[in-house]
């Protein structure tokens, strides 16, 4: 079964739908037209470029190139999750990169070797699509997890120091913050898993079904993807915190102030 291709003219017609939000925005003065326009243009251009790029990537299907592209995706994911924490990117980029790579590659290779009967574990279709799926979906969790950990630790520093004064080891003192961050990071994933199929018909499934596979196949893929997402989210949040704390916490067990970004007034207002 082949997916129905959409002729370019028809694609253009789809853009006509946007007349509705534009009309609403004008009628109620929502000032949405400009941000909407910018986002639509960006999305279209990015997807067009990536479409061409992926076409050649799939045609070429070279193991090294595939791994290389996966690493590029990891770098971008690391940047976006580190950037939204209050820690300087330069101080924790490397440990975060290591942790994201370990978490993503482990899950992807496990799935490709033991679960999906692919010919080559480096096959572009499965390596890049699965890897991208994992990264994209664990990204939000990672952003929440990493920034919560350091934000709470800093806000709560008096209590943290009090616990150290009680004679706690570093692990004992940090454990409550680690636990809280991971739980918070995982909350949306767990919630969407619990309602999956009923409330959410996720992108992966839609894609596979539109791609011509039967719903049974789509569901199997969805199940392995969700297991992969939970695994890589927990692993990467915990690993990132464990690895970055060596940089952000000194030998005295005290949070270093020089790893935090200087907050400019404008940044603060935005938060």
């Amino acid at each position: 079964m082949e997916t129905l291709d959409i002729p370019l003219v028809n694609l253009a017609v789809a853009f006509l739908l946007l007349l509705i939000p534009v009309g609403i925005s004008i009628k109620y003065g929502l000032k949405l037209i400009k941000p909407l326009f910018v986002s639509i243009v960006r999305m279209t251009i990015q997807l067009a470029l990536i479409g061409v790029f992926l076409k050649y990537l799939f045609q070429w299907n070279n193991a090294f190139v595939n791994i290389g592209w996966l690493l590029v995706m990891i770098v971008v994911a690391v940047f976006s999750s580190v950037k939204s924490s209050s820690i300087k990117v330069s101080s924790i980029f490397l440990p975060a990169f290591i942790s994201f790579s370990v978490a993503t590659l482990t899950v992807v290779f496990f799935l490709n070797v033991f679960v999906v009967p692919v010919n080559s574990v480096f096959d572009a279709r499965y390596l890049i699509v699965l890897g991208g799926m994992l990264l994209g979906n664990s990204l939000r969790g990672n952003i929440v997890g990493i920034s919560t950990f350091y934000k709470r630790l800093k806000m709560d520093s008096n209590h943290y120091l009090y616990v150290l004064s009680l004679g706690a080891t570093e692990t004992e003192a940090l454990m409550p913050y680690l636990r809280e961050s991971v739980q918070l990071a995982l909350k949306p994933t767990l919630a969407s898993m619990a309602t999956m199929g009923i409330v959410t018909l996720p992108g992966m499934m839609t894609g596979v079904i539109l791609g011509g596979a039967s719903p049974e196949v789509a569901i199997k893929y969805q199940i392995i993807i969700m297991i992969g997402i939970v695994t890589s989210t927990i692993a990467s949040v915990v690993l990132t915190i464990v690895l970055t704390k060596r940089v952000c916490i000194d030998r005295y067990g005290v949070l270093r102030s020089d790893v935090f970004r200087k907050e400019t007034p404008s940044r603060r207002k935005k938060l």
Partner: protein, 214 residues
């Protein structure tokens, strides 16, 4: 235990925060069994003095010694196990009083302790708070709970940073007597309260002039 061995020693200690000098060339010795009251105006660095010993802040220069060992990134962890601190903000955290007590007694360092708070809680008029949330306690209740915990830790050195500020006259007296009557305890007390300052058993260190008053 001899009453004259040095427990804490500051030798030419300088401390500044982002360029602003807070402690200037301080030298000070506190002996075993001493009851020392540190006095001085707000912001002059009294709490920072305690933080230096615990390794929470590091001196720009000079040496901080505890029990004959210089405080550094390695030794600070042991120093903290010898001192019972009550910080000025009484930062006990959140959650129920019971779970807080459990957290403290579950720490590895406290594994050997007989951690039963009931008698002391009664002594400091803290009956019936076990199931309350720490955030719902009054300032004075929190201070007394922190005092109870500090005693249960079974340590010999106490850092008491403004621990009587929210207590009534009766309780102030009760707390001060409790700490001052123990000859084997070394207490470093930060306070403006006459209940400590005017007690005959303390030595007062004027932190602004860097001199002993009596």
């Amino acid at each position: 235990m001899s009453g004259t061995s040095a427990v804490i020693e500051f030798a030419g200690v300088n401390l500044s925060f982002s360029g602003k000098k807070v402690i200037d060339d301080l030298s000070l010795v506190i002996n075993s069994g001493d009851k020392v009251v540190i006095s001085g105006k707000s912001g002059c660095g009294k709490s920072s003095l305690l933080s230096l010993v615990l390794g929470f802040v590091k001196p720009d220069s000079g040496k901080v010694v505890f029990g004959g060992v210089a405080v550094d990134g390695k030794t600070a962890w042991n120093v903290r196990r010898e001192i019972a601190l009550i910080d000025q903000d009484v930062s006990l955290g959140s959650g129920s009083v019971e779970s807080f007590l459990e957290f403290v007694s579950d720490l590895k360092v406290n594994a050997h302790l007989d951690f039963s708070p009931h008698k002391l809680m009664k002594f400091f008029h803290l009956q019936g708070i076990l199931h309350k949330n720490l955030k719902d306690l009054s300032g004075g209740e929190r201070q007394r709970l922190a005092i109870v915990v500090s005693v249960l830790l079974n340590r010999k050195v106490f850092f008491l940073d403004e621990v009587t500020s929210s207590l009534d006259a009766n309780l102030k007296k009760k707390v001060a007597d409790y700490f001052l009557k123990r000859d084997d305890w070394t207490c470093v007390i930060v306070s403006h309260d006459p209940v400590w300052l005017e007690s005959p058993s303390v030595r007062v260190f004027d932190f602004e002039e860097k001199v002993w008053k009596h």
